[in-house]
Amino acid sequence: MKFAEIVAYMKNRTDVSDWVLETSKETALEKFFVGKRLDLARSKEVEHGTLTVHVDAVRNDSSGGGQSGRGTAIVTIPASAGADELASIADTAAERARASIGPAWKLPAAATANGNGANAEGIALNASISIEAAMDAAEAALFSALDRFEGVKLSASELFATERKRRMATSAGVDISWNDTCVEAEFVACAKNAAGEESELFDSWIGAALNAAQIRRRLEAAVAALLSNVRDRAIAAPLPRIDGLPVILRGSAVDDFFGYLFTRVDAGMVRAGISDAAMDGPLIPAPFKGDLPSFGFDPKLEGSPSNRPADGDGLALSRTVLADSGNARAFSGPARHAAAIGVKPVGACASRWVAPGTLAESDIASADRLEALVFSSFFMDQAGGEFGGELRLGILHRNGERIPVTGGSISGSFADETESLRYSKEIEGRGTISAPSFVRLMKARIAGGE
């Protein structure tokens, strides 16, 4: 069904108080390599549609019986849906919304979002780069990085170039569209040690709204970093037993680590009682002597595939401070959660930033430390703040020596680090987040061998 037909239909639904329609037309080219050999080429032409339906009625949640409120449900509209199926889907959504009437709230007015989108200002637009050009740049990046490393190979790689044409309309009059081309890559590298034993590491990279030169430069750097790491893993020694050494977290573990703080200021988590953060209150319990985190979201974060002009309610998004020097300044998330906990809605956006810390790379360069470069899968408990993971590659710096290590695990908790948490002045962009390049942990437990 066409966008305009769905909008026209929803305007005539009298049992629905408000609605949001969002569609994404996606055209993609995908390549799968085994070594340097192209194993499979795929393409894709699909359209995703979601319809959010809001119904105003008497509340039926545990705390608001008798008052008027609003219920919300989101459903998918298949590209192949006809008029009858659309009616059935909208019926289903309305029934689900009626079953979940909570506190009352309203959709943001059109004026806040229209003009913030691609129609007017141009957000995250690089529709001029075709998926073929994006794929060429990605392919060149993959294999030119490989050419710089001897004795290392890419076992398998996957490249995805997707053009996304998105549009959103709401019953409050929002009507915006925005496009980008997104490139994703997953790559697996392998290296041998002197005994001929192979070791493997894998990584992924994502970027959107980038030109060909940017795709090539950034993906090549990501692949080169992996190739360098796998060379170290091939010669890595088992992680020894170590006590009392600072641990330097790097890479995606840094993002997961800060993810705990983002959960603390998530309006839905606050509403559900999973986070006990209070507006303008400290996010980190005293005594706190480390870097006080400032962070937020930015819907125009360079290269982020999560950029968008408005959130799922049609609320215009702008760079927002969620926490300033360790204190909560706003709670992000859908407007219904903000209304329920009585705070001003700032919207929801998955493009995030964390402000620099006070420690420079040069400050730690000569210190004894364990640099945790790659985890099997870094676990960060978003409710309690405990963390841990098996170490796939670490670099032990001790007495001026640099020793690649592997195996064993690192674990700890955010609460234990509050007296000494420091992180880097240097900032890195990693897909949907711009954050310090490292975090220094002083209390983490290192489970190495005897």
Binding site: K31, F32, R37, L38, D39, L40, A41, R42, S43, K44, E45, V46, E47, D61, S62, A73, I74, T76, P78, A79, S80, R96, R98, A99, S100, G102, S155, V188, E198, E200, S204, G268, R271, A272, G273, I274, D276, P285, A340, S376, S377, F379, D381, A383, G384, G385, E386, G388, G389, E390, T406, G407, G408, S409, S411, A415, I446, A447, G448, E450
Partner: protein
């Protein structure tokens, strides 16, 4: 009642017609049509909601081969079966496939020219036409939302009321229905089935310390799943969350561990499930390729994977490449026997197609994926496993795991660790517990296996950083040694 997709029923003729049209222009053409949907119900202290399942999808993928090369195109709009519309659509689709083949022109030959015969040779003796439409008492997707949410709210309230230290309780139930049709000119397969899963999440807080845990049930079941959830699990979830407030960090080191069925299931999944996905072997990414027929575990260790091995959320009749589900004995009494394959890697390695070629959705490539993966039962009693431990830890409530098939490392995270001293639980508790080890060492150290297998199908399995697939996993209580931290 049987649950069928009226959408796929209406498109069957068009799919068949399109396959025939394209088959005149390529050496091999298959078509997979999917129409899957689901509903997720959630009760929180703050709100109740009913929303779409993340497994909702509807569309088609066509696979075509010519001169030994294979390409695919995914799309979601298929015209009706009228000859003129089908002809025009087939022309456009053929042009796209030809362009992809041209892209692929520089590639080494993966498929021999006689692709159709090649695929047939991989298939065990079985019928080329089959369907599976199991009977259900009710269709959970059409149940009144309010009734299900009220039921979940009752269970949530029981959890929250179990202790004043419960800061947040949440319940969730999801049912997803999968309808698929496959045609390749030789084979015609159809299936439509559903699974359900339900959870209780409990968060306890005291003096600024927050701990959480969960209870979960799953299966090829309808609304009766909520009876299982309600049966004592709310109080158990709350008690465990409160207990975890007293958890201490574990002293790092190697310990004797007693794994719960959920933990042994995660061990099976991460230790050897991923490692015997034969696309990993074909890419040189799995050490298991060098160990076929060799010992990888103690004689007490046997392990299966298969959509036909058990009834859980990884069960189906045929996979996303049109191959019939099977049951694969992966490890037999400690000896590595066979891997689980998609068609590409089965062809590459010249092995049996086991029916494990699965897609995240019609929009994605098929890979060799797990289905229901589990260790088989032994002969010990759970009490004997614990009483035989001088000092160690009982590990339960798996949170996450990660495989390393090339280097046979493993990571399991347990939310609950209970200290065992002189054969008895001391009451001391640790959380979370990071469990690591070298896979053959962990499996060779298995010295006792309990006599009952439990499988669960909550959660989803990824391949690398993506490609989710619904799987079941489990096993008996098992005793082995792992490094904990």
């Amino acid at each position: 009642m049987k649950i069928k997709s009226s959408f796929l029923a209406g498109k069957k003729e068009a799919m068949r017609s399109l396959q025939k049209q394209l088959a005149t222009r390529f050496d091999y053409v298959s078509m997979l049509g999917t129409d899957s949907s689901g509903v997720s119900f959630e009760a929180l202290s703050s709100e109740k909601r009913a929303s779409e399942s993340m497994w909702t999808e509807r569309g088609f993928v066509v696979r075509a081969a010519k001169a030994g090369r294979m390409v695919e195109h995914s799309f979601d709009a298929l015209p009706s079966a009228s000859p003129s519309e089908t002809n025009a659509f087939a022309d456009r689709l053929a042009a796209k496939l030809e362009r992809l083949l041209a892209t692929n022109a520089g590639a080494g030959t993966l498929w021999i020219d006689t692709v159709r015969e090649s695929i047939q040779a991989l298939r065990p003796e079985q019928s080329d036409a089959a369907s599976w439409f199991p009977e259900y008492e009710t269709d959970p997707l059409t149940m009144p939302c309010a009734a299900v949410l009220d039921r979940l709210e009752d269970i949530r309230k029981r959890t929250a009321a179990a202790s004043p230290l419960i800061a947040s309780a949440r319940t969730k139930a999801e049912w997803a229905r999968f309808s698929k049709a496959f045609f390749d000119g030789t084979r015609e397969m159809e299936q439509s089935y559903l699974w359900g899963q339900a959870y209780i999440f409990a968060v306890a807080r005291k003096d600024g310390k927050t701990k959480n845990t969960f209870e979960a049930v799953s299966g090829l079941k309808g609304i009766d799943l909520l009876d299982e959830l309600a049966d004592k699990l709310p109080e158990h979830a709350a008690a465990t969350a409160v207990e975890l407030l007293n958890a201490v960090p574990i002293q790092s080191g190697e310990y004797t561990v007693v794994l719960s069925p959920d933990m042994s299931g995660m061990l099976a999944h991460e230790a050897f499930g991923h490692g015997v996905e034969t696309d990993m072997i074909a890419k040189g990414r799995a050490k298991a390729g060098e160990y076929m027929g060799k010992r990888v575990g103690s004689p007490l260790v046997s392990m299966y994977d298969g959509a036909a091995s058990a009834e859980q959320t990884g069960t189906y009749l045929f996979d996303d490449e049109g191959e019939r589900a099977s049951s694969t004995l992966v490890i037999d009494k400690g000896i590595l026997k066979e891997g689980i394959s998609d068609l590409f890697s089965a062809r590459e390695l010249n092995i049996r197609a086991t029916g494990n070629g699965r897609r995240w959705s019609f929009e994605r490539k098929a890979y060799a994926r797990m289905t229901n993966t589990f260790f088989t039962a032994g002969s010990s009693k759970v009490e004997d496993l614990i009483s035989g431990v001088e000092y160690g830890w009982l590990l339960d409530r798996p949170n996450s795991g990660m495989e390393d098939p090339k280097n046979w490392g493993i990571q399991l995270i347990a939310l609950v660790g209970r200290e065992i001293k002189n054969g008895k639980l001391t009451g001391k508790i640790a959380s979370p517990v990071v469990c690591t080890g070298f896979v053959p060492d962990v499996l060779n150290a298995v010295d006792a296996v309990a006599d009952t297998v439990e499988l669960r199908g909550n959660g989803a399995c990824g391949k690398g950083h993506k490609e989710l697939a619904k799987v079941g996993s489990g096993g008996p209580w098992m005793r082995t040694k792992m490094r904990l931290g």
